[in-house]
């Protein structure tokens, strides 16, 4: 949920609560005033009637225009004033309407009378409707104003925050070492930017140090590995080794070869990450793929793999060595993980390259396929770095690498 959406939801909630409570209070107040006002009026009318009777010693009849209806009846005893509420049927509006009444005893000098004055009150329904309507209009106006001001304010106030967010989202510490944030006068955002700057610089520099270390370590290992390998190669030539010794030497030789290969692959990865393949050239990809298929021809035949291609002429801007490694690894991978008599299909068009090969389903999580040292089969001679190298190359050139298994075929696609 966006910050703005969340704020707006709160605004809706607050407006609803405030306005329903406010409406309630408002209703009570208006209702109270209405009743108070009715009592006062009734009292005034009572006084008018009283004074009329005192002067004329008879009941007013219709000669006084009172506005409210009044009814007289003969009383036996004088009683105290009584106020009350009744509902009377209004024949013109065909509904009951509320009235406030004042009942009092009046003495004309000869006779006691009970007088009741009826004064219509504001109808509850009308009052409620009026208030709800008023509240809705005010509430909506207020809400719209809040929305607008929220929108404008967030554009204004939060803009440094969103800028920072955008910067940090696109920041790739494997490629760049510094992230520059825009200046802001808000203390909180300033702090945020400073903290982020420190963190990203630290991450980038640690990452760089680590990469440099990997590369240097790999370099330093090359020479001792050379010595081990060449000495072993001489030892193998020796005529004096018996079968058992030869077997031991062979094991050491194989292990050292593996180590050398591993080291080379790690060195290559470090070099790609350290941007040492920066010169790019236009490489005709379809041509490169065709050449690689010829290069692997005998391996493909050896495994009785049928290969079909559908290659459109397409070129990309890439370092020639990386292009070579990428295509070699992709095709090599499709051969290696294929079964005897399986198939490979390579499709290249203007947007993507996809290589499909038959083979056993993965024994590892496809999500981890491109991670280093992930091997489908731990006993195989594979280093588990081939796909990581492809992934690294793709990330340098911002190609999108993906893997799918459709039940029969493994599909690796590179979206350019």
């Amino acid at each position: 949920m966006k910050l703005l959406t969340r704020t707006n939801i709160y605004f809706i909630g607050i407006t609803l609560v405030v306005f329903s409570l406010g409406g309630e209070v408002f209703y009570e107040r208006v209702h109270g005033i209405n009743k108070f006002d009715a009592s006062e009026r009734l009292e005034q009318e009572k006084n008018k009637i009283q004074s009329f009777v005192n002067i004329n010693h008879e009941l007013p009849g219709n000669s006084i225009s009172l506005g409210d209806s009044v009814a007289f009846s003969i009383a036996v005893l004088a009683e105290a004033d009584k106020t009350g509420h009744v509902k009377l049927y209004n024949s013109s509006e065909k509904e009951y309407e509320p009235y406030q009444t004042l009942e009092f005893t009046i003495n004309s000098g000869t006779q006691l009378y009970t007088a009741i004055i009826y004064r219509p009150l504001l109808e509850t329904d009308d009052l409620t409707t009026a208030i709800v309507e008023a509240m809705l209009i005010i509430g909506t106006c207020l809400f719209v104003v809040l929305l607008l001001s929220n929108f404008i304010l967030s554009k204004l106030i939060w803009s440094p925050f969103y800028k920072t967010l955008e910067k940090i989202k696109t920041f790739d510490f494997t490629r760049e070492s510094l992230v520059e944030f825009d200046k802001t006068s808000i203390v909180e955002f300033k702090t945020l930017n400073n903290v982020l700057k420190t963190i990203t610089e630290k991450i980038a520099s640690d990452y760089r140090t680590l990469k440099e270390f990997t590369e240097n370590a790999s370099h330093e290992m090359q020479t001792p590995l050379s010595i081990i390998q060449s000495k072993l190669e001489l030892l193998i030539q020796s005529e004096n080794l018996n079968a058992e010794q030869m077997h031991e030497v062979q094991a050491v030789y194989e292990a050292s070869s593996r180590l050398a290969k591993l080291n080379q692959a790690l060195l290559l990865l470090a070099k790609i990450e350290n941007n040492q393949f920066s010169n790019s050239k236009k490489i005709q990809l379809d041509e490169l793929i065709r050449n690689k298929i010829v290069f692997f021809e005998e391996l493909i035949k050896h495994k009785n793999i049928s290969i079909e291609t559908n290659l459109e002429a397409f070129s990309i801007q890439i370092h020639p060595v990386l292009a070579d490694i990428m295509v070699s690894n992709l095709i090599g991978n499709a051969i290696k993980h294929n079964q005897d008599g399986g198939g490979i299909s390579i499709v290249l068009n203007q947007t993507q390259l996809s290589i499909r090969n038959s083979g056993k389903p993965l024994s590892i999580d496809p999500e981890q396929l491109f991670q280093r040292f992930q091997k489908a089969d731990s006993s195989s001679g594979s280093l588990g770095l081939g796909l990581s190298i492809i992934k690294e190359i793709c990330s340098v050139y911002h190609f999108k690498l993906s893997y799918k298994f459709d039940g029969k075929m493994h599909i690796i696609s590179i979206l350019f």
Partner: protein
């Protein structure tokens, strides 16, 4: 043939020299920039194996001077730097080949022989060994005068064997020789096996002797039994 090994790792230089001496080469060694510089420029070598990172200086400087003074010498750079720039610069400066450490001695030997053949036996691109006549340029093999049809890889394999006769050649070095360094993704040892089998069969079908021995688990040896 005289060879100079300029390499500061004594053990590696010795291993190279031991291998090369049994190939019949006359080998000298230099372990620093200065001694390498002096030996390379004073004496005349057919080929120099040159390390780039040397105590006292960059091996490429020796290459520069050498090409001015003695352009006929072959140079193979052996480097642990695996740097593409070094490779390009080295080849631009006139090096004939470039080999990354760690390398197989059999591979170095094959490259060295191929270089010497190119440099010193121009025109006669033929190798003769027992009943074999191999024409490098035409990529043909004659066994007892009869043409044997080989695939490109089989031919490369044969040349690799011929460059290292009477040696145990490991399957790892064959794989690298045929498929290059990057091929860590393809487990091609059983492929090498069937490849060698085919080559052997093709030669024997034409009446050639079985020169390729299997060294169990290790690799192969091209030799007369």
């Amino acid at each position: 043939m005289r060879i100079l090994v300029i390499e500061d790792e004594k053990q590696l230089a010795e291993a190279i020299m031991t291998y090369m001496k049994t190939e019949g080469f006359d080998c000298d060694m230099a372990a620093t920039f200065d001694s390498g510089y002096e030996k390379a420029l004073v004496n005349s070598y057919d080929c120099i194996l040159l390390d780039i990172t040397l105590p006292g200086g960059n091996g490429l400087e020796i290459l520069k001077e050498l090409k001015k003074k003695n352009p006929g010498s072959g140079v193979i750079i052996i480097s642990a730097k695996n740097s593409l720039d070094d490779r390009i610069m080295g080849l631009d400066l006139g090096a004939d080949d470039y080999l990354n450490k760690p390398f197989h001695l059999s591979e170095l030997n094959a490259r060295l022989k191929s270089l010497l053949r190119r440099k010193f036996f121009k025109g006669s691109e033929e190798i003769e060994y027992k009943d074999f006549r191999v024409n490098i340029k035409e990529k043909t093999l004659l066994v007892k005068g009869e043409l044997v049809i080989l695939t490109k890889k089989e031919f490369d394999l044969l040349l690799f064997f011929l460059a290292n006769p009477d040696r145990v050649i490991t399957k790892e070095s064959i794989t690298e020789h045929l498929w290059g360094e990057q091929l860590s993704t393809v487990d091609s040892f059983d492929f090498i096996y069937s490849h060698v089998k085919n080559l052997r069969k093709k030669i024997m079908d034409k009446g050639g002797a079985d020169y390729i021995q299997t060294v169990y688990g290790m690799g192969y040896k091209f030799a007369v039994k």
